[in-house]
């Protein structure tokens, strides 16, 4: 009987947010079970209600959110700490969110970890203080004992020098270490259930792989039930025993991992898996085009590019450190070609893009650009005034479609601005051109008079693209242009970029941390690590036969969206020789 009894059983859960237009149902009649020792992955795109579902379990939905109906049954006798034969079942949905009864559950029976390891820890309290607090809240132990247990926990999550790092502050930890500390905090009271809300989304793939295997190992040791929330089908394939797919607050499909991946029933699940699988291979459209129009002459020739930042030491007498963000990078981009630059956070890939645009003054090297008339000039040494012409040919698309559009400008003003600033068009002609550009990126001309907030993330990115192509550029530098988008939108935006490439004869430098996206979109790829390019070559070749150990470790860490491949690959960790 014990094997059949879930730890948590959610029945017909409804959570609503009161808004001025009446209640908004974020979670709509959701039911699922969490089994001890098993992982349930809750999958869905942004706004699907998966986070609210998780928070409803602990009754920590921010107001005005409220559980309206349904049951959340916690079988306390099934948790490891409370294991007994007598049934001890509690309905969490019936408890007052401020009651001591629910507080006794939070962190003790059910623990939670969150997406942003930086902002989810208090910046002004030490790690030890925050973890020790969780222990002392639920167990009657002395400060010294709590401290000893905290050190033990930090060791368990593989944080080096735990007895020293316990007194450090979160900002002294790296992103991966912070998430480890979060996990240690969640495990403080040996919970029976761990809820992980996108715990690896903000991390690099290599760090993600480490955190995932850590959670897995701890789960095996402790027999916890894990509710894992993610939008990444690769991660799902890697860790899930069961999958539940959410959309618009409803659970649309629910089943074991293999059957969901191989035999999805609901259209939405099919679409989700389809867009993931689509991204896992080169775009057919790109291959077809390259067969017809092989890349032409060299457009951009970057040689020995360097960018050094000086870090102020804070002292008047000591010289600051130097950071070689871009270190001796040599690249070429041919016309009609897509060059990918892949690397983890801090590898200098964004800095490289900005150096090529001359947003930053560069510290050394040459950026030779050949313009339409076949004239080659070195952008690295050009004075700002002469850069104007080159900047019309080189445009950028940014990562965050929310932050990169001025919220106080209409779409027409946003897209028209480069045309107006460069004195190309004005008045009626400008309006017509903006309408034409909107058509090119697949938006109706009626969008012109509206403000960015009226559009979704994907539509905003289209507006950003329309702005980039307004001056008929020849090179577009796309810096993580699809990273902030849901996976189903990613392939759409990439296809749009490929279509524009054909119509407008563009070349792309595509900066990303996402190998799948690079593989889909780019002809060649350069792998960046600590400011250097460690490997460069045709995308398929680099992806299938990586030469440099860093590339190998990067590729081995990428979760593969196929549950049957689970555990078949050996993950390697690249450590630079000192």
């Amino acid at each position: 009987m014990t094997a059949e009894t879930p730890v948590i059983e959610v029945k017909n859960l409804v959570t609503e947010f009161a808004t001025r237009r009446g209640p908004f149902r974020a979670v709509d009649n959701v039911s699922f079970k969490l089994m001890p020792g098993k992982t349930l992955c809750l999958v869905g795109e942004s706004g699907s209600g998966k986070s609210v579902t998780a928070r409803s379990i602990l009754q920590i939905v921010d107001p005005p959110g409220r559980i309206m109906s349904g049951q959340i049954l916690l079988n306390r006798h099934m948790t490891r700490r409370g294991r007994s034969e007598t049934a001890d079942t509690l309905d969490l949905a019936a408890l007052n969110p401020r009651s001591s009864a629910i507080r006794a559950i939070r962190g003790r029976d059910i623990a939670m970890i969150f997406q942003e390891p930086m902002s989810s820890l208090s910046p002004v309290h030490t790690i030890g203080n925050q973890i020790g607090e969780a222990i002392r809240l639920h167990e009657n132990v002395s400060k010294a004992e709590a401290r000893a247990r905290t050190i033990e926990l930090l060791r368990k999550v593989e944080i080096p020098n735990a007895d020293k790092t316990i007194d450090r502050y979160p900002f002294e930890y790296s992103g991966g270490m912070r998430q480890r500390a979060m996990i240690a905090m969640a495990l403080a009271c040996n919970p029976g259930v761990l809820i992980a809300d996108e715990p690896t989304t903000a991390l690099d793939v290599t760090t993600q792989a480490e955190i995932l295997s850590l959670i897995k190992k701890l789960q095996d040791d402790e027999g916890m039930a894990v509710l894992f929330i993610t939008h990444d089908m690769g991660v799902v394939a890697e860790i899930a025993d069961e999958v539940a797919v959410m959309r618009f607050g409803k659970l649309v499909e629910h089943g074991d991992t293999i059957s969901i991946f191989e035999n999805p029933q609901h259209d939405y699940t099919k679409m989700l898996l389809g867009s993931v699988k689509q991204l896992d291979r080169p775009a057919p459209r790109r291959l077809a085009r390259r067969a017809e129009h092989p890349p032409g002459n060299t457009l951009l020739d970057v040689e020995g590019l360097k960018k050094t930042f000086f870090i102020d030491s804070g002292s008047f007498f000591r010289k600051g450190d130097e950071l070689h963000a871009v270190n001796n990078v040599t690249l070429t981009l041919r016309s009609g070609e897509n060059l990918g630059i892949v690397g983890e956070s801090g590898s200098g890939k964004s800095t490289l893009g900005r150096c090529i645009m001359r947003v930053y003054d560069i510290s050394g090297g040459a950026i030779r650009y050949t313009d339409r008339d076949g004239m080659t000039s070195d952008l690295a040494t050009l004075p700002d005034r002469s850069l104007m012409a080159a900047r019309r040919d080189l445009r950028m698309v940014f990562q965050d479609p929310f932050a990169s559009l001025n919220p106080r400008m209409t779409v027409a003003q946003l897209i028209g601005e480069p045309l107006l600033v460069n004195g190309v068009l004005s008045g009626k002609a400008l309006n017509d051109r903006v309408a034409e550009l909107l058509g090119l990126v697949g938006l109706p001309a009626t969008a012109m008079e509206r403000y960015p907030h009226a559009f979704s993330g994907g539509q905003r990115q289209r507006i950003g693209i329309a702005r980039a192509i307004a001056l008929e550029p020849r090179i577009i530098i796309a810096d993580e242009a699809t990273s902030a988008l849901d996976v189903s939108l990613r392939s759409q935006v990439l296809d749009l970029l490929l279509e524009l490439q054909e119509r407008l004869d563009l070349s792309f430098i595509f900066i990303s941390h996402d190998i799948a996206v690079i593989r889909y979109f780019c002809d060649r790829v350069a792998v960046m690590y600590k400011g250097r390019i460690v490997e460069e070559g045709p995308t398929e070749e680099v992806c299938s036969r990586p030469v440099h150990p860093y590339t190998q470790s990067l590729l081995s860490a990428v979760p593969h969206p196929d549950p049957r491949m689970r555990g078949t690959r050996v993950r390697t960790r690249y450590r630079e020789q000192a």
Binding site: S100, R103, R106, V124, L137, Y169
Partner: protein, 328 residues
């Protein structure tokens, strides 16, 4: 780490103080003419004719004919030995004139600061936690009224109420019998009896603005992810509030020390006139009008010292409550 930070701060304040003193001296020298000119003007008004030779002799005696830097050097070396020079107008050493008044100013400033915090801190927290409740609206309304009433008007109204309804003597900081008396416990009690009116008057607008600041800051912090984390740990709402968001919303509070000191001394001039308080403000104004440069200079220098000191104190407190500042 913290000690190094404090020492560094203190070390840097020394050259900074010198620069400040130079500027202060330049400022009091800036108006056209000097004390002798205004003395001559005053004498001329009463019908006396002063010979040029006598004026020149006076200038020479006070060293007013020397170049700026020489005058500054003489003044600053004196100040370092505790000698602020001679007040032309009062014919007394400046140091005899200022200390008691400065002392009372500082007492008034600190009392006002404590009053401001004592009110603004809890009320600000309440206002943020119970956002858009009736209590919040009432507090906001009172706050805006407090911000918009001019200090001197509030002073007159309070004086009227105190005199008519409570029958208490409201002018000055002491009752008559204690005015010249040496310090004693009774005199201190008497001071407290008089202090509340200026404290309320001076504190009202800063209390109102601090409530707004606290409310806005706390509202920003209340929905940060780390609050959710703490809640998910099982912390009770009250402990959670005090330990996390309030702690982070505290920074602007501490920063107020820096600007509160000089503002209270210079901003209280009008109030001090209205309530005839024996604080530094009125004397400073008088000294400036009479171009009594050593007296004015001493006040300005001390005010600058107070601001620098206030800044150092608030910086050090900030470093204590926020480790991120310490390590930068």
């Amino acid at each position: 780490m913290l000690l190094a930070y404090v020492l560094k701060r203190l070390f840097w304040s020394i050259p900074f103080m010198f620069a400040v003193s130079l500027v202060a001296f330049a400022l009091i020298q800036a108006p056209p003419g000097d004390f002798v000119t205004s003395l001559a003007a005053t004498l001329a008004q009463s019908g006396d004719v002063v010979e040029q030779a006598r004026l020149d002799a006076l200038r020479e005696r006070y060293g007013l004919d020397q170049p700026f830097l020489v005058q500054y050097w003489r003044w600053i070396t004196g100040v370092l030995h505790g000698d602020f020079g001679q007040s032309f107008e009062w014919n007394q050493p400046v140091s005899d004139l200022i200390w008691e008044r400065m002392g009372l100013s500082v007492v008034l400033a600190i009392a006002t600061l404590l009053f401001t915090w004592a009110i603004a801190f809890p009320v600000g927290i309440y206002s943020a936690v119970k956002k858009y409740s009736i209590g919040d609206y009432i507090i906001s309304a009172i706050g805006f009224i407090g911000l918009s009433i001019p200090n001197f008007l509030l002073g007159l109204v309070l004086m009227y109420i105190a005199v008519v309804h409570f029958g208490s003597d409201t002018s000055g900081l002491f009752s008559e019998q204690y005015q010249q008396a040496p310090w004693s416990w009774d005199k201190f009690i008497d001071l407290l009896k008089h202090l509340w009116i200026p404290v309320i008057i001076l504190g009202t607008s800063s209390t109102a603005s601090l409530i707004r600041i606290m409310r806005a800051n706390l509202l920003d912090e209340l929905h940060k992810p780390y609050v959710t984390t703490a809640r998910a740990k099982g912390l009770s709402e009250w402990h959670l509030l005090v330990k996390y968001p309030v702690r982070l919303a505290l920074n602007p509070f501490v920063s107020t020390i820096g600007w509160a000191f000089p503002q209270l001394v210079s901003g209280s001039v009008i109030i001090s006139y209205v309530l005839s308080l024996p604080t530094a403000g009125p004397l400073l104004l008088q000294a400036l009008l009479a171009q009594d440069m050593y007296l004015a200079g001493a006040f300005i220098l001390l005010l600058c010292c107070l601001s620098v000191f206030g800044m150092i104190v608030s910086d050090i407190l900030l470093a204590i409550i926020d480790p991120r500042i310490r390590y930068r």
